[in-house]
Symmetry: D2
Subunit: 442 residues, 4 copies
């Protein structure tokens, strides 16, 4: 999921929309923007892509100099329009909007609230947070109520709040999810999940919101509230592997460089006799370039991606082999035929897509297909918002390396080691629980 918010521009909603556009890759199920003109908070939310959700006529209804937005990522449990964010509620201290990216462990708080007579209208963690804040806010200022509430919950998240006159950003104490601060040439502040959102606005990168930090933006400027300390800093390594845009800089490292370094280290793990290196586009491109540079093998774009593919595709008939993958990916036969191919992908989850890609390359005439994965085997489900399947559906839990190779039909198969992945991010602390099972919070 993606969050973005703007403080201090007459075009706050439009700038937030541009950010959401740039962050579309983080959530394609639906999108929403809420804005405040100082007197009332208005909101527009709908299912679909950013390009479809916002029409010109939406923006005159989203007035004011503050706005926050959200792109929703589809998870199995909450595919319902009512779960789209931002949520807006009336609190004793006035209206409050919330946009959350990530996951909080709110089940207990939800049950406890219910027992005390609180009603719920969505499945969103955000609604739990709003209730908790509302119940605290009778006795303390909004900032304190937010701080106390977030302290009481564990999870990996980036969250934006908007009251009538403030924009408040909060990042989880482990720093699992990214959240950055920028500034436009007109001195409006921008908070967003990734730096790519700043680039589109020509906004200057100011800094990361730090793990456990609460940043309050108001007419008094930007204030940073005492951080929640004592937590292990552990940014999500999967952001580097797959989630983030390659042109973003994440937790102070450029994503593209990390992916290239993964490719280089992967090439050093063993030496393949092959004719060329191709990526599975788009997520494998940077790693494949790194692999090619390190191995000295030529890089080719041997698989072409059809970017016009919408969210749904009507299958024409059952019999077409590998149709699911072929709608998106098509090999360049003249490159592939008769060649020994190293194909680089970012990760393997269930293994079925990799199997189809290998078949497709063999159908195109590849004499050998060496699959190289720029991350370790995915062994554990993510608890912080990435929609991985159940443990039993993760192929690396069911098969050993040789059996996975046989299943996908590759000539050889290799994964990047966890040590090499960590090396690629400068031995930084990170959450690699999906590979190691070592979750930063329990």
């Amino acid at each position: 999921m993606a969050v973005a918010g703007v403080y201090g521009s007459d075009n706050a909603a439009r700038l937030t929309y541009s950010c959401l556009y740039a962050l579309q890759h983080r959530g394609q199920e639906g999108s929403g923007i809420a804005s405040s003109d100082g007197e009332v908070i208005c909101v527009h939310r709908a299912q679909g892509l950013v390009a479809d959700v916002y029409k010109e006529q939406v923006f005159p209804t989203l007035k004011g100099k503050i706005a926050i937005g959200n792109n929703k990522y589809s998870t199995s449990k909450d595919r319902h329009v009512r779960n789209l964010q931002p949520l807006v509620a009336e609190l004793p201290l006035g209206q409050l909007a919330i946009s959350l990216s990530g996951v909080l462990l709110t089940d207990e708080a939800r049950q406890s609230l219910k027992r005390r007579g609180t009603i719920f209208t969505t499945d969103a963690d955000s609604e739990v947070i709003l209730h908790l804040i509302a119940q605290k806010a009778a006795d303390m200022p909004l900032e304190s109520a937010i701080l106390e509430t977030m302290k009481s919950l564990q999870g990996g998240y980036a969250v934006l709040f908007m009251s009538l006159d403030k924009l408040i950003a909060f990042r989880d104490p482990n720093g699992l999810k990214p959240l950055i601060l920028g500034k436009t040439t007109d001195n409006a502040y921008v908070v967003a999940s990734e730096t790519a959102a700043l680039d589109l606005l020509n906004a200057e990168y100011v800094r990361e919101i730090e793990p456990g930090e609460m940043v309050v933006i108001s007419d008094s400027g930007v204030e940073s509230y005492a951080k929640i300390n004592g937590y292990k800093v552990a940014p999500c390594v999967f952001e580097y592997v797959y989630t983030a845009r390659p042109d973003s800089t994440l937790f102070s490292l450029p994503v593209y460089e990390v992916r290239k370094e993964c490719g280089r280290r992967l090439a050093r793990q063993d030496k393949v006799e092959a004719d060329l290196v191709i990526p599975v586009p788009d997520s494998g491109i940077a790693a494949a370039i790194g692999y090619a540079q390190e191995s000295g093998l030529p890089f080719e774009l041997g698989i072409v991606r059809n970017h016009y593919v919408g969210r749904t595709f009507i299958r024409p008939m059952q019999e077409i082999r590998n149709f699911g993958v072929k709608v998106k990916l098509n090999p360049v036969d003249s490159i592939i035929a008769g060649k020994r191919i190293v194909v680089v992908d970012d990760s393997i989850v269930r293994g079925t897509t990799s199997m189809q890609i290998v078949q497709m390359l063999k159908d195109a005439g590849a004499s050998e297909v060496h699959m190289r994965i720029a991350s370790p085997p995915v062994l554990f489900p993510c608890r912080y918002g990435i929609d991985t399947p159940d443990k039993s559906d993760l192929i690396a839990n069911r098969y050993n390396l040789e059996d996975i190779r046989k299943f996908i039909g590759a000539t050889t198969l290799d994964y990047l080691t966890l040590d090499n992945l960590k090396g690629a991010i400068n031995e930084n602390d990170c959450c690699s629980a999906c590979f190691s099972g070592s979750y930063p919070l329990v």
Copy 2:
């Protein structure tokens, strides 16, 4: 524009839809499919992308074992829903549908028809063709009426006709536009603008429809009618430069290889002192890979393309520099900063996009930007369907090389020579009128 048609499958409309999906890059304004069940021709047409135009409920209305479809490319003169194809009309010999890609010189025929009392309800060349066929078809069979009609018109086109029980394909005598024949594993025939449409269906490539050839597909099989001869064969070179998918094979040459060869020859034209080669994605990728391989400079994907960009983007405000290009393209700062960059693009038309790309790279810290164009300067408008601007808007007509370089702000600028472009397609005969002004038909 794209055409596609299927004969001999119970899923004819669905297979045609898949072809149109694969050919989306050739026309994004609208799409349509007509199908025949032997008793009546039904049609569905709408503005928008293939992914949006066809819903599951459309297909039960498109019954039968024959279907033809069309993706419409937007030209300045005919942006009206009534101009979407296929057109369907009642003729004396029954219903006839038409799907046309390309341009015919029909103005004179249209005026002559009007003078004789024919009415028109669209601006499409297809409608002129239907009228001409209808007037001939009183005296001769459909095949002859089509052949006589097409002989009487000049242009660059690929056209499909569908009667209640036949699918008829025709390619212009100069062979300007591509049109290929394939066969599915279930022995249905497929006719389409590019081979990429066959790949998605796992259909076998049979052969090109030859210049001036009419192919009639019916229960009697595939029949080829005497070609219109005496024309110079001149496939459109711009298909290689930009239009076609890199994974298609066109006029017997793989597009990706041609583009790479253009890049290699461009690298040989002069020697640049630089640190790396990057493409303008996606159209410049293959040429940039060729350039990198020939020059020995490292290849990097230094500009990232946002593929979620829809057909319209609401500009958030006027002041953001280079916004138009930045919505789609974003530099990877860590790659670009402090480097001497060779950036490879497919062509320059007006020059404004190139200018924005150069600025964007300099803003990202490039110390030098060497713009290399994998085709010659565009000097003449296309007469056969590519929507180039007026001659006076083509920057190469207004400025010399040095002034273009200054205009776009590049450190150096070079275009591929026409000889080298022709060399890259094996000195094949081709139409390169947009570069040379030498039109195959006058």
Copy 3:
């Protein structure tokens, strides 16, 4: 069907829209308006009610001081969006739009045109007319081409043509269909099917367009062209019985008065011992008032009509008795229970609705139900555009009076005699073919 057109107002399309609103009862399948600004004709057409078809954003696209419009009536053969009018075509002499209400005997002309190579894209009679005009217009002015064309065709119709600078109205030589001329307080001319359209605009009624007359409205004012003579004048009597609004004046007689007079004469046909008179609303109201006044029985609105019923109603389940009628009509039990009821309806076609109404009244406690029909038995299908069923489905063709009474379950049943119906319209000549089988044209 309804036609309406306006000449000479900057709000021509908006005024035409108001007319179509007032004439909604004549056609609910779809609506369209074409307007001319002197340079181009634009058109908007869609399926649905006038209130849904036109949104505010439509009108800026319908510029100019001339407009013509159409409400389409659904007939079994042409329920397709392509058959909506106005049609617009390019002719040698420029664009021409047509809006037709009624039916022409065009089958022969259509076949003959097809044999000569003319193509058709709709099933509408209007398209035949356009082709015929186009073929004549090479040799003569538009007015003559229209006149010659209309002379060559037989039918019952009112038709409006619009060229870039003229509005031309034509009424069939028998005068079967109504067409009237009015003038707004701003001196714009209005042509419409009924006077109710003028009332809404506060426009003054000028006169009827006469049978066989062509009226040309241009900057030179209103010109009347030599009428097609020698035809028997025979306005459609069913307009008085059912089609027209009760507040319109038709063929110089107020519809409400004619219906009341039918009711009075019906009351005089025999004397019923009853407690009260109720109409089947809305079409039976005026006749029921006349009946009540003549018979001296009290008039009550004993059946209430639900006017919110849309064009489609989703049947909740099969078992509910008389559901089809009850969605629209509901008896007022307190009025009906224990009473001897005279119920007045405009006509009986298949008999099923009458049967349900009688059952419904008995269920509501009526002790006797005397059905009185304010027109004669419908015995023959209409050839001029009223969508009556096949002869065999007309109940009066299958049963005699007593058997119809038994079928519908009424205590007694009486129809107005044809003589009395003619008497109610002052013995005027009229077409009463649906009752008498005597068609004015053969």
Copy 4:
């Protein structure tokens, strides 16, 4: 507003939909239905008319044998899609849906809840009720929580609750709003605002829900809970005057008869020399019939209503006199011209519509226009849900009788006296606060 609910049919949602169809006149802003299949409550809500809100594909999502629905009436303060009902919330004891018609005095409860940290997402009174129930339901069964909650609130309302397995109906202790119970031939129970909803389903009328009574329908049958007593019974008299359908029976009296009796009493108030009596349709019809019968003057439908008028009408231009009224109402000139007219309407609120009607009749040639109003002058705003304007906008507060007559331009003007209105409903206790200022609750 309207409520309707069904218990015990596999077609519960469809039957509820039919009820809402029949009750469309009570609320046209939007509609919603929630249904329970015993495991989950699903809901469909949208702005618009019932005919537009529900498509066939909605019903498969509304499974189960219990359903409740709502038609929303537009009031100035809550025109927002989020205020559509039924609302559905998760409570400690499971899901609960609510559909409310009427108004509760909830401001204080809302503020108190807010102070205690409750958040609100709508402006609807229903949401306050849900919160109050949720907070009580921790300690007692649902039925008790509802009873306690409703006891704590004052207002005029009819409300339906639906849990997973129960349908609970509650009517306000004053009995201001109607709520009736019926039973289908299949033994499903129906609860609805008016008896007209039963008629459409052929359902049998069982009885009124009594003032202050709670009825619980479950597999155990229908249980009635101890009524809230000690309140003055005071059904809303405006239901008889305007709100209810004429074919409904309300608080045990047939609405049509009450309206006719009002007309009769109005005729007895003074004697007018006139030629005929006409109603303002549809709301004035029954009273006009009563007036005509009592006075001996002939009844005519001298004004015709256009029932195709949608919720919005695009005004064609500013200058057309009385356009707002003329879109809906049009005089029958032949009836009106030269006549002395008594015109009967149900009420006068602001006076502007009456003024336009009088002008329209004079324009149509009426020599005298005697306006007769079948209810007393509206002097006080309604506190229980009828959207009357501010006191200062009620014309009867600003002018005396003679000045109102002058303002609307009538020859004479008379209102029904409050005594006569009460007489027409058999001196029943009722709330006539809008006429008398005597509110049953303060």
